[in-house]
């Protein structure tokens, strides 16, 4: 099936920060993402509760 996967800018919030990774929840209960620290762009130290935004589309299984 031919999907139109268009990334959308979604807001979210940091749930957890460790020495290795950041866990964020996406607005609208769209899921929780864990990414390594190097994937986060910021000018300030990370802490729980900071608002984030990320371009995301649906996942297509190939």
């Amino acid at each position: 099936m031919d999907y139109e996967l268009t990334p959308k800018l979604l807001p979210g919030k940091i749930l957890e920060v460790t020495e290795r990774e950041v866990k964020v929840t996406l607005k609208g209960r769209m899921g929780i993402i864990i990414v390594p620290l190097r994937c986060v762009l910021t000018d300030q130290p990370l802490h729980v509760g900071l608002k984030i935004q990320v371009y995301l589309s649906y996942i297509q299984v190939i």
Binding site: M1, D2, Y3, E4, K8, K27, G28, R29, M30
Partner: protein, 569 residues
Amino acid sequence: MSITNETANLHQNDPAVLCCLRNKGTIISASDLEDPAIVPDLQESGLLTIPEDALTIGQVLGATLKEDTDAMTSLTAKLLDGYSNKAGESEDKRLSAPTDSGTSQPAGVIKFSISNVQGQIELPDGLSTIGLPFTVPPVEQKPEDKIIRTLTQKEFAVQKVCMGTETSFKHGTLTLRQDLCEDSLKADPLVKAAEMDIIPPDQRHVYANTIMDVMPIAAKVEGLLGEGATHVMSGVVIMLTGVDEKGVQVHEFGSCEGYLDENIRFGRLGCPDPEDIIIRVNVTIQENTGMERRGPYAAHKACDSIIQEIREVLKRAPAEACTKQDVFHDWKRPGKPRVMLVKEIMGQGAMHDNVLLPAEPAGVEGGQRNVDLGNVPVVLSPNEVRDGGIHALTCIGPSTKEDTRHYFREPLVNLMAEDEEINLVGVVFIGSPQVNDEKSYVSARLGAWAEALDVEGAIVTTEGFGNNHIDFAENIDQIGRRGIDVVGVSYCAYQGQLVVGNKHMDAMIELNKDPEGFENEILGDSTLCPQDAKRALLMLKTKMAGIPIEPANRQWEQAVIDANQQMIR
């Protein structure tokens, strides 16, 4: 990507853009032009600019290129010989009035031009009409609408709910047996604890675990679901909330734990009304079962066993205590356009499931789950839906979730069933499976139903967004490709934009109520409301009448919805 002649005809007034490199001397045809549907995307991405003097597709067809021209070039007068100057010709044609009709009549025919005639010609019975200078119209016998099923819902107002030693319902006071919750654990071994409390309308700032469902208290006193008599308690609803032994919310991701006054859009058809007393049943299920089919189902079973005891006392409520009576009919309306309503329900497994046709209104026992039925379309009569034929186990995002009370008060079912201009032949519930092959399988069966029911129009609705929009699109396609007019109804807005589409999705109703177009985690906020139902039905009637529907904007715009809403009286 070049286009067909058919597409070119549809887009005569859109700017003409070359799809590929073309050499000097080329006579422009549809196959040389870019698809107008993607031109706005190309403009947005900066690949293309349309100058002010750009020619339209209607103008360039048949013209000759004066020089070699690159792909993605907007065609202008400088580049072409022999283009047409007439812009918007096709529209002008449509507007011209047929003023000269009749001039080709043979000579000798007298023509009358009568501007105002009133009254009627009365013919006595038995008069021979032979030789009269006009024909007598045959007496039209309009087929009459027939009632095929009647459901009487008797409402019993509840003014007070309290706990006591035994369950009873007297003089507007509902008393609940204190150890009812403990007994409910017997319903399923996965249920580890259950408690119940009463939340009055003026004390809504209460923290709750995720709201799994909102249910009416209704009991069958005569006949089967959809006919006979049903007793319903008004002014009170059951709210099921749940968590697992580890403290994880049941069906996390679709959960909406928090303060009730912040997390519920009171007054939506699937939500408690502002003045309703809420009986909260909070269930704790075995750890790690919150996202499996058995976990949430166990919670619903336990809650249903509690409601069943209330149903038993409601059944015995004296007739004089009835405060309101609604009579619903299933109609057969011969001679009216046959239409069907398709409601897509979740069926991806785990906590995405529904119970169809339980023994008691909005109950659990005696019903079949759509996942077990393979998600194939199941037809219910409008009265079966209005009598609690669907018990929702669904956990999709809170704001688009159609819960059990929503189906009990479904606005589109009510509107279409009572509309005298259409013949609603049935309400089809079709599940949304996880895998694409299964989606295609059940959608094809829906198409077969539409054909077998011989409908002329259909409305397809869905809760949720994302994966189930694939079924939504395919369901619409299966109906549309059979030449049946179809209207789609869904939440899309910003966050839930459609990922697939087809040419039959040209009449769509947006359900979003969030100012920013998000799944805003407020229970029932972006579900189908009466005004959405009216827009959907008017859209279907418009389409069936052959009135063209303007193409949708590329992106969600509230202004379009507001403008359409103005048309509803």
